[in-house]
């Protein structure tokens, strides 16, 4: 399945886009999606365990992913 992944700030600069699509087998986890994102050009600038979100809530590497999910890889936050 194809999963859309949102990236932000320094991570978007590293990947050259605010959003990327990756292909993973059905039954994959967020960890599998992240591995594909980190395999893209510039992807190694994303740490091995970044902040991750699924459908606008923080999520764990082990959480399952479905094709319709909005997955995000989130840089260290700076609000305030």
């Amino acid at each position: 399945m194809t999963v859309t992944v949102l990236v932000f700030a320094a991570y978007a600069e590293a990947l050259g886009a605010p959003e990327v699509s990756v292909t993973v087998p059905a039954g994959s986890t967020i960890a599998d999606v992240l591995a594909e994102v980190r395999a893209l050009p510039g992807g190694t600038r994303i740490p091995e365990v970044p902040l991750l979100a699924r459908n606008q809530r923080y999520a764990a590497l082990s959480d399952p992913v479905e094709a319709a999910d909005e997955i995000a890889v989130i840089p260290p936050v700076a609000g305030g």
């Binding site: 949102l6 932000f8 700030a9 320094a10 902040l51 979100a53 606008q56 809530r57 923080y58 995000a72 989130i74 840089p75 260290p76 936050v77 700076a78 609000g79 305030g80």
Partner: protein, 140 residues
């Protein structure tokens, strides 16, 4: 009612203060974060704030609702600005109205601490020498 917002318009602390001032409350606490002229010694000319907009608003809404419930007052509001801010401009305002000052201070503090830890907002500082850098709260 607890309320959160994220937007490009300049913030108006007095409006948020008025929003949380009600006859049931004896104390209002307000926190305003503003752009400093320097950070870790480097002169700053401005800051770009950006966000994962939908999640930032969702997360901030969850925070004000949780803090309101925890501290027993509906009067918890927070607005965060995004876009390019000049030195001295407000990036965030938290306002709390509470029957007692202990509750007002504690709830106000709880919102800004949770916001800084959890809300997906990002910032890039602009320095006097023309360079820019992504900075984050863990660096402080």
């Amino acid at each position: 009612m607890p309320r959160a917002a994220l937007g490009l318009a300049p913030l108006d602390p007095a409006r948020l203060l008025a929003e949380v001032t009600r006859p049931a409350n004896g104390a209002e606490a307000l926190f305003v974060g503003t752009v400093r002229e320097q950070n870790t010694g480097r002169p700053v000319t401005g800051i770009d704030y950006s966000a994962y907009d939908a999640m930032a608003l969702a997360e901030l809404s969850r925070i004000v609702e949780a803090v309101a419930a925890e501290h027993g007052t509906p009067d918890v509001v927070c607005e965060h600005r995004v876009g390019t801010l000049a030195v001295g401009e407000a990036s965030v305002v938290v306002a709390v109205g509470h029957p007692r000052r202990d509750g007002a201070f504690a709830a106000c503090r709880a919102v800004i601490e949770a916001l800084k830890a959890r809300v997906p907002i990002f910032k890039q500082e602009h320095y006097v020498d023309g360079t820019r850098e992504w900075v984050h709260n863990g660096q402080r």
